[in-house]
Amino acid sequence: MALSSAFEYAPAPESRSVVDIAPSYGLFIDGEFTEAADGKVFKTVSPSTEEVLSEVARAGTADVDRAVQAARKAFTKWSALPGSERAKYLFRIARIIQERSRELAVLETLDNGKPIKETRDTDLPLVAAHFFYYAGWADKLDHAGFGANPRPLGVAGQVIPWNFPLLMLAWKIAPALATGNTVVLKPAETTPLSALFFADICRQAGLPKGVVNILPGYGDAGAALVEHPDVNKVAFTGSTAVGKAIARSVAGTEKKVTLELGGKGANIVFDDAPVDQAVEGIVTGIFFNQGQVCCAGSRLLVQESVQEEVVDALKRRLATLRLGDPLDKNTDIGAINSAEQLARIQKLADTGEAEGAERWSPACELPTSGYWFAPTVFTGVTQAHTVARDEIFGPVLSVLSFRTPDEAVAKANNTQYGLSAGIWTEKGSRILAVANKLRAGVVWANTFNKLDPTSPFGGYKESGYGREGGRHGLEAYLAPSSPEGKR
């Protein structure tokens, strides 16, 4: 018997029975589930099997208007509540999320396609932590550094992506509620379910009606929400192209805007880096969540003298990654979120090949149904290559090399984006010097893709503006009491 088969993993599937998905869901407006005004619905499928999970009401302009009105009505009372009372609601929500985290993790894996290991160990703990963190701010806003008695803005219109459906919801809703705003949130059309389950959590927590409204739908509903004249604050996470369109559409209004957009993060490995540790960081950097992460380390910059060693070690490591059923607890790489996204990744990878970069993937059997893409590494990449410039949003890594720290910095900064970067070196002064020069909102040194509710997250340049997380994350939802003028 070959050694490899002697140590085969036995299947270890997480039970689906912990989650009960209804055949259909409505919009969540003013504390009630309701049909869309025009009766439209859409189906949400499991990306790993293409199984239809549920039919969901599709919000249109009339629904957006109704939800904004509900949020406006709820705002008067919600914003007048003592912060300590708002805090208790948020603490309740955090606790209920913890109680239901197994259910939500399975649900998220079914609807999104990401491995249960990630929803269970990363998404859900962070979701609960975000509500817990911002709950504590609700009655301490005078101490947040935005002046005495900072006021909420009003109704927040929030549009979130499909890569971390529940985590992005938490990033948006927790600070909004803590600061006294009310919310209309549109989850992505491919991943509406966990947001609808969150609506049920709001009900269990006894949250007043209209404070949180959830509108599953497509881009048209998102645009209607962003452009609604009675929305005071716009928060968006998603593509840079849509972010620019939003920035244009709010011009000349008083809406406050934060945008978390694309990235093309550089992960810089110096010749003195601990190779095995760096390889783990590279893997986390680009293959976590199938690379569908805006802060992914999608450009590997390796010092020339260790390039061969690092790339060899990386390839060896990638051969051990397990791709397949996302509900299996041994799965490292799950499904791509949608057929559309898979096509986009395939097209960009093909472009990389056509432009002359060398493409490599480990031997890897892809399931016959569902949307799958094998982990892919491009070597021989130059800065002019499409795979080194465009955000791919999939498990595709481009490897470039450099000789000096200055060259590494210049290459790392040679992008329209500025969200994240990584540095791998044992030399402390080099970490500080390079981190200082990188134009990126998050820099991970000797680690990658770490997130925490206490830490501000957000981009430079075309990766968007504003920060989410930490004390900084409150600013987006507060009108500072500026001594300069009216406000």
Partner: protein, 299 residues
């Protein structure tokens, strides 16, 4: 010199010029426009900047960014304070120019200039404190050292207020550069002279050339290419009217410039930190801590 000679002496006019890259060029376009006082009396011909002047100013500001943003906060503070020193020494000149520009009495203009000097001093003191106010260590739930620090956004285009030709101008320029950004400033269209004279003060204040660049002319004509410029990182729309501000904000979206929208401002009041933070990014740096930690020690 006899009194008669003094009375008959013809005064020397000043040719007002732009301030770009530490130098005083005329407009590339060769155009000037008449600047008058509030009663319509001719004061000077001011340069009417072109699109090319705006682009030259951006190049100068970009070139200066590395050095200025890399200077220590202590050093930047001293340079800003030096501006106050230089301005104090030229007080009489600015009182005269501000009185003419804003159509106010010499006495009121004196108060304006004093306030402008004090504003430089106020911002000089902020350079090495803003990082402590808005940055900090984050107590993450894990074995990591994690620090958030503010950093300048880059090149900031500033549409200076139209009706406060000097105090307003200083109030919008000083916070931009205090935090390490560099600036391309469009002076008040109808009263640009105090702004152009400020260039002379900045040039003698240890401020590296290109950190502040002053353009005069038609606001919309200069602002449009700056708002659309791909190498400008942020825009302050204080001096733009509602319609222009909207157009500029739309143009600014092309490279996701940070936008500070126009708002009613009382420039005589002590400012908040909003103008400092408007042009700052926050960088969060993570590093593993390992298992050793002082607070976890039993010693």
């Amino acid at each position: 010199m006899s009194t008669v000679e003094q009375q008959n002496r013809l005064s020397v006019f000043k040719t007002y010029k732009l301030y770009v890259g530490g130098k005083f060029p005329r407009s590339e376009s060769g155009r000037v426009y008449e600047v008058t006082d509030s009663k319509g009396n001719w004061l000077a011909n001011a340069p009417q900047s072109s699109r090319k002047d705006a682009r030259d100013a951006v190049v100068a500001a970009r070139k200066a960014f590395g050095g200025w943003s890399g200077a220590t906060a202590y050093n930047r503070g001293q340079v800003l304070y030096r501006v106050a020193e230089m301005l104090e020494g030229r007080r009489d000149q600015f009182v005269r120019e501000v009185a003419d520009a804003d159509g106010i009495s010499k006495q009121k203009a004196g108060a304006v200039v004093d306030a402008a000097v004090d504003r430089w001093v106020w911002y000089a003191g902020w350079t090495d404190k803003i990082g402590q106010i808005v940055g900090g260590a984050n107590p993450v739930a894990g074995p990591f050292f994690n620090l958030s620090t503010p950093e300048p956004t880059g090149v900031v285009a500033v549409v200076a207020p139209q009706d406060s030709s000097f105090l307003g101008l200083v109030s919008v320029v000083a916070p931009v550069i205090a935090t390490g950004n560099t600036a391309v400033v469009i002076a008040s269209a109808k009263s640009p002279l105090p702004a152009l004279s400020l260039g002379e003060v900045l040039a003698t204040s240890d401020l590296p050339g290109g950190v502040v660049n002053v353009l005069s002319g038609k606001t919309a004509e200069i602002a449009a290419p700056l708002a659309a410029h791909q190498d400008v990182n942020a825009i302050d729309l204080t001096g733009a009217d509602a319609e222009l501000a909207r157009d500029l904000e739309i143009a600014a979206a092309d490279n996701l410039k940070r936008v500070l929208r126009p708002q009613a401002v009382d420039f005589t009041a002590t400012p908040g930190t909003e103008r400092l933070t408007a042009f700052l990014e926050t960088k969060t740096v993570w590093h593993p801590t390992g298992a050793l930690g002082v607070s976890g020690s039993s010693y």
